[in-house]
């Protein structure tokens, strides 16, 4: 087990390097000059420009620039500075927490709503409610978060507030605390909820067809126990895998949601970073996201062995 974890972490290194190099190269290839962008329309002193270019290694070739950057992260824990001189790690610290809050809200919403709807559909397979749930998931999958975001903002944020007179779902920002995350959390989780609902339904339906479910029934157990203990315990295994891997996806997907709801997390930050060619910001955030992704998947794989005794790692 310990050796397995170590091996997985070692395997993560090339993944991390590859992903960061890829992003680094893409931002490098973007047209436009970040130093020129600093001054907007004004003329710049060529000397200062040159000093800045030296300072940020902008005159060096791509691979060398990448080396300066990545060695800074791994050897000194230094994510570099923005072109305005702010350390990137400082910039990310608070924002990362905000995005994590948003992603976790989305993940909890996804798990609760998705699994419950999936179970409901599975237990009423072929009935009207099953069809309704399946149709709704299709709708949720087909409509992009850009649309659900604005529509829900209008309905639940504006219209509902007008009707009840109290703000239940804030339209934007995070000043309202926890409840500010609910609406964006739902929008972010949208298609994931739909996929999880379908996965849960399929998984439970399949499990309930197994021989050991028939055995459990033949043991004289109540239907509740047959489904709740014997069925659910097995049906949950693929769901945990999906949920764990989805945490990374949700954090990455926060870009659109955070922009719609004006949430100052890393999603909004990465958007601005790309816009301003702030290479250190973009690559820094991506590095963290890749790390989250890799760790989440590792945890899922370890959890898998806990849930399914047939799987052993050595």
């Amino acid at each position: 087990m310990g050796r397995y974890v170590v091996r997985r972490l070692i395997q993560a290194i090339p993944v991390l390097l590859g992903a960061t190099l890829f992003i680094f190269a893409i931002v490098f290839a973007l047209p436009g000059d970040p130093i020129a962008a600093l001054a907007g329309e004004k003329r710049q002193d060529p000397n200062i420009v040159n000093i800045l270019r030296e300072q940020y290694h902008l005159n060096d070739p791509l691979l060398l620039q990448y080396w300066y950057y990545i060695s800074g992260i791994f050897l000194r824990g230094d994510f570099g500075r923005t072109f305005a001189g702010v350390p990137v790690s400082e910039l990310m610290a608070g924002k990362f927490q905000i995005t994590l809050n948003l992603a976790l809200t989305a993940l909890v919403l996804e798990a609760v709503v998705g699994i419950l709807l999936g179970l409901w559909a599975a237990l009423r397979r072929g009935k009207a409610i099953d069809t309704i749930i399946l149709a709704s998931t299709l709708l949720l999958i087909s409509v992009p978060p850009l649309v659900t975001g604005f529509v829900l903002q209008l309905w639940l944020g504006v219209w509902l507030k007008q009707q009840v007179g109290v703000e239940i779902f804030p339209i934007a920002g995070i000043t309202a605390g926890f409840k500010a995350y609910l609406l964006p959390g739902f929008v972010l989780a949208g298609s994931s909820i739909a996929y999880l609902t379908r996965l849960t339904r399929t998984s439970l339906v399949e499990t309930l067809r197994s021989d050991y479910i028939r055995t459990a029934t033949a043991k004289g157990l109540s239907r509740r126990r047959v489904i709740g203990r014997h069925g659910l315990r097995n049906a949950l295994i693929p769901l945990v895998t999906y949920l764990g891997a989805d945490l990374g996806t949700l954090m990455g997907g926060a870009v659109i949601t955070e922009t719609i709801f004006n949430i100052p997390g890393i999603g909004l930050q990465i958007y601005q970073g790309v816009y301003l060619r702030e290479q250190p910001i973009v690559v820094g955030i991506v590095t963290i996201l890749v790390l989250v992704y890799i760790l989440a998947n590792l945890v899922v794989d370890l959890l898998y062995a806990v849930l399914d005794p047939r799987i052993r790692y050595e």
């Binding site: 033949a218 849930l307 005794p309």
Partner: protein, 345 residues
């Protein structure tokens, strides 16, 4: 339309004249997209305490479906029981409420299945699965129920039961897994044990051990056993009587020695002749011609007529009833006399 149900559980104690379990004119059909599949068409058999009834037949003959109907583990829908009775100690199980049925299942009528690997839950230890019977049905605590599970594992002769009680099903061999299954089924001393092809998935040597174990457990507890199989070899040593099924009906029933000595139905005869024999080594193995009937499109008259060497014209049109040959024997063949005489029509 719902049938009237009752909560009265089958009585315990003496039986009087009533057999322990009596299936009477049972019909089971499955409503599927291509049509109604009539899997069981008027099956009747009975079982007494300490008795072993072997139900013989190929896949699709309705032998397992009958057993599942007795257990009440058919999925309804698509399955339906339009007609028939399953009397357990005089009480028709089909008229019991779901609640009362659950009380009978597992505790008084238990079942073991063919493939123990898939029939045991992969994510729970064998000890947990056996002891669950005591926790759920007897309200025992965890420690006592696990102790009981170890006792049972000893009883079905699993070596080092105490060390293995926390192992998972996949960590056992096929024969040991079937022993676990058996331990679980006899946990609450059921009065009837249904064994649905308990040895089909096992090696021949292990098969014999499992059958021996079942026979021994039965002697100890005097339970009635229904042994479902397609293997005549398995039956001879343990069964008291045999019911041969074909196309959802019983085509012959008889005490075990009568069947081996002189089958009274052409299908039984064909089955017996297709057993490999040492003294006929080198000769071609006999096989019944043709294929089992399509349950969606059953042949008219006797379902066996397309494959039957004794066929006459009326076999195609008249469905033979189960003719009574003697008090304990019956054959659903118009020409059972000719079959008994061994005269190939």
């Amino acid at each position: 339309m719902r049938k009237a149900t009752t909560d009265t559980l089958p009585a315990e104690g003496g039986l009087g004249n009533e057999p322990l379990l009596a299936v009477e004119d049972l019909h089971v059909e499955f409503h599927t997209r291509p049509g109604i599949v009539r899997a069981v068409n008027g099956v009747s058999y009975s079982l007494n305490p300490g008795e072993t009834l072997a139900v013989l037949g190929e896949s699709g003959s309705g032998k397992s479906v009958t057993a599942q109907a007795i257990m009440g583990i058919l999925d309804m829908p698509p399955a339906r029981v339009p007609k028939g009775e399953i009397r357990f100690r005089g009480t028709d199980l089909l008229k019991l409420s779901d609640e009362a049925r659950t009380q009978v299942r597992g505790q008084r009528i238990a079942m073991i299945f063919q493939d123990a690997l898939s029939a045991l839950n992969p994510v729970f230890t064998v000890g947990w699965q056996i002891s669950e019977m005591f926790r759920v049905h007897r309200g025992m605590n965890k420690r006592d129920s696990v102790k009981k599970a170890i006792e049972l594992m000893d009883r079905v002769r699993i070596p080092a039961a105490r060390q293995r009680v926390n192992d998972y099903p996949h960590q056992f061999s096929g024969g040991m897994r079937q022993r676990i299954m058996i331990a679980m089924s006899i946990a609450l001393d059921p009065e009837v044990l249904i064994a649905d092809e308990p040895t089909t998935a096992l090696d021949v040597t292990v098969q014999a051990q499992i059958m021996e174990l079942l026979a021994e457990l039965q002697r100890e507890s005097n339970m009635g056993m229904i042994l479902i199989t397609h293997d005549l070899g398995v039956v001879a040593d343990v069964a008291d009587k045999i019911a041969v099924m074909y196309g959802g009906r019983i085509v012959e029933n008889a005490p075990v020695h009568d069947i081996y000595a002189s089958p009274a139905h052409p299908y039984t005869k064909g089955l017996l002749e297709s057993i490999p024999r040492v003294d006929l080594k080198g000769q071609d193995l006999y096989a019944i011609k043709g294929l089992p009937p399509n349950l969606l499109d059953m042949p008219t008259g006797c379902a066996f007529h397309p494959r039957c060497p004794y066929r006459q014209d009326n076999c195609v049109t008249d469905t033979p009833p189960l003719y009574e040959i003697s008090g304990t024997r019956g054959s659903a063949c118009h020409y059972w006399r000719e079959v008994l005489d061994g005269d190939q029509g």
